[in-house]
Point group: C2
Chain length 144, copies 2
């Protein structure tokens, strides 16, 4: 349950960019780190508001953007249009299995697929920068 590492990363990022700390940012970071789920901006907003009812919506967005910039988080854009923020630190690269019924995620990883993707890109003369693989289906729980 140590989020020290992440806080250090954010700390360093803020300083190196000439930004400043604030209670709001600390609060948002803490709440974000405590939540293991992939949250939407709105969900995080509601969570943070429990502790700090004065928080503004824009601040959530601004701060989430900072998290993405410093590598603590990443936007996950889903087919239904919603955007969720996932934790990146301490999580190796992975893809996602998304249940179309309950909306839950499973993080998956297959080096073989990664390798084939690189080969595919190379064959077409592309310099591959990143990729996005989403597998949609019905999860174990929902199918029973």
């Amino acid at each position: 349950m140590s989020s020290e590492e992440e806080e250090k990363i954010f700390d360093y990022f803020v300083k190196s960019k000439g930004l400043k700390h604030s209670d709001q940012r600390r609060g948002i970071l803490r709440t974000f780190l405590k939540t293991e789920r992939h949250v939407t901006a709105d969900e995080l907003y509601r969570l943070v508001r429990k502790r700090n009812p004065a928080i503004g919506f824009a601040t959530i967005y601004r701060t989430l953007k900072l998290f993405c910039e410093c590598g603590l988080s990443r936007e996950l854009k889903l087919e239904n249009g919603s955007v969720r923020y996932e934790h990146l630190y301490g999580h190796e690269h992975h893809d996602h299995l998304v249940c179309v019924k309950c909306g839950n995620f499973i993080e998956v990883m297959n080096p073989e697929i990664e390798k084939l993707q690189k080969r595919l890109a190379k064959k077409e003369g592309f310099i591959l920068q990143e990729h996005k693989l989403l597998l949609y289906g019905i999860c174990r729980k929902c199918k029973s």
Copy 2:
């Protein structure tokens, strides 16, 4: 250059759903079929307007949705937030290589990757319904 097949599909779909034909729908379909590119709703709107300046924006959206419902087209949501419509009829399943510089697409397909995806989903107890793979990079032209 025969789009008869597609027009028949749309015809059948319209009838089976108890919908009606209209000049607007015919015009939009023809323009859509003529364009081999992956268009945005806005691009299609401008194209259709050349022939029918009275066309409304909502009609484009409504009709594109119909194309998707009847299997003639599919929405492609990109990382930058834009949505493009690609042709489906006569195109087998494929994934996309997207150039981050010029925005061009290449359609790619690798049965091996597909197989591994299915295996991956199965291992997690998922019934795989569909997937989405986007490979972002710099294309041959743009890197030189």
